[in-house]
Symmetry: C2
């Protein structure tokens, strides 16, 4: 019965809802996406919305088990699933899945996030990314590696023996947007095609920085390089992107080794290109890490002693 | 006739207009401030506005010479006074003052800004800050030093033999505002009294950063330190301020030596406190650097061969 539905796996994040119907081999039978992230759902409204969104998979009023991961388990979500402390692998995360009894959907699992604390500048957290990393590990058959999930808040995680041992968040995407849209840098910028030359100039600037505070100087160069026409108005946004992504990669990959990028094809391409310019090797994880990770987590949950 | 008016000196910046009536010894007889910065004045409207604002000093329809400095000499200002290339002291800047003939005010001088190019990441520019630095030099009788003009775009300049030999702009103030107001960091922040503990935590974080890209990680700590209640909601904005100012000071003061802060008392206090925490010496320039610098520049202009 490999093709009969075995799991409804949901990655329910801050801004998006992605659900997968998986068969008993973990293969995706069907999927649903909706712009109904945690931030758009009021307390008390989660169950009704979930019923609506996965209704096609429960036509007879019943259905396979349901496992949710991502920000849905945060204080701002449905029910809080407290963070598991790193090092954390499938076993530790599965053991901390919180079960809730619902009226219409029966028992539902909500996965916790992962916490790293006591090292570095302060505590750091992820919710949902751990599941994608488990998916990338499952896809490659590996149990070690450095993984990057680029975006608004990029996560870099190091995995040893199948467990996330450390990680750090970089505000790259959000800092880029705030600087591009809400500072003087916006004035000279003009929208245009993605520009390889502007991006490379930014990555090259990142490589030349000596002190952390030089970032604040290099950002301003987005303006003066435009003022003095060293870069065209269409290239300035790319310069800023290259500067921030280049600096992120240089800082986060210090431990060495090839990093695996888990993300959208466009963003993964941008990170790989910056890596190439910096002489660092980045490879792209296969598609489908979310569903693969949810499936692996579900199996570990089933084996879990609780 | 030391007390008779000898110069109307105007610092006409992006957001503010500050004019001084100086006597023949350079002392301030009177002053006018207005929120009529360059960005609020249309092309062609500068003369009329200037007449209005300095009218009290020209009651008989005539008056002392007028010298303007700041963004008024930029492409967005009245008439462009092209940048002078560093190294630039009073002599070089005075020689590049642009004279315009006005209908109602006669001949007016517009000071140029200073450009540094061909070193570092790209060209860098200042307009108006050079005059304040000349004022700080005049006030102290010194001809050397490291000067910082903190703010939206902090400038750090090194002076040798009375000339600005190099400088760099740090987007500290504007990056702080963009991050505080337009990112997730805003959510946990609560307004409060300036908090020494939060500020010190930020400066301490700046000191621990190893790579430039670590800035993007440390910024995110503003959120997690709040989430885990290591800092109170009222301390988070101060943490971010300490982080950025600390990083700026560490990067910009690498050449060594005591830096002199030219700025508002509140901002100067903040920079001195960060310097103290970092074991670096910062001192505050006396008040009145703007008028002192304009006076020194005026005298050099008078001596100028053109």
């Amino acid at each position: 019965m490999k093709n009969s539905p075995a799991l409804i796996a949901v990655d329910w994040g801050t801004t998006s809802f992605r659900a997968y119907l998986l068969d008993a081999g973990g293969a995706v039978l069907d999927r649903v996406e909706a712009g109904r992230g945690v931030q758009s759902v009021e307390k008390g409204a989660h169950e009704k919305l979930l019923v609506e969104l996965v209704q096609p998979w429960r036509s007879d009023g019943a259905g396979p088990p349901i496992l949710l991961s991502g920000m849905i388990g945060s204080r701002q979500g449905w029910v809080e699933a407290p963070y598991v402390r790193a090092p954390a692998g499938l076993r530790e995360v599965a053991a901390a899945i919180v079960t809730i009894d619902t009226e219409t959907l029966g028992e539902i699992g909500i996965a916790p996030g992962v916490l790293v604390d006591g090292v570095g500048l302060g505590p750091d957290v992820m919710r949902g990314e751990e599941t994608q990393i488990f998916g990338a590990l499952a896809a490659s058959g590996r149990a070690e590696g450095l993984f990057v999930l680029p975006g608004t808040h990029s996560k870099w995680a190091r995995v040893e023996q199948g467990r996330i041992v450390s990680f750090a968040t970089y505000m790259t995407g959000e800092a880029f947007a705030a600087l591009r849209e809400h500072t003087i840098l916006a004035r000279l910028m003009r929208a245009g095609e993605a520009d390889a030359e502007g991006f490379a100039a930014g990555v090259s600037a990142a490589e030349k920085l000596a002190a952390p505070g030089d970032m604040l100087h290099a950002m301003f160069m987005t303006r003066t390089l435009g003022l003095f026409e060293r870069l065209a108005p269409e290239q300035l946004s790319e310069y800023l992107s290259g500067l921030l992504i280049g600096a992120e990669i240089l800082a986060a990959s210090r431990g060495g080794g090839t990093a695996t990028v888990i993300g959208s094809p466009a963003l993964a391409r941008r990170y790989r290109e910056a890596g190439r310019l910096l002489g660092l090797s980045l490879e792209t994880a296969p598609d489908g890490c979310v569903a693969l990770g949810q499936w692996a987590l579900f199996q570990a949950w089933r084996r879990s002693p609780d």
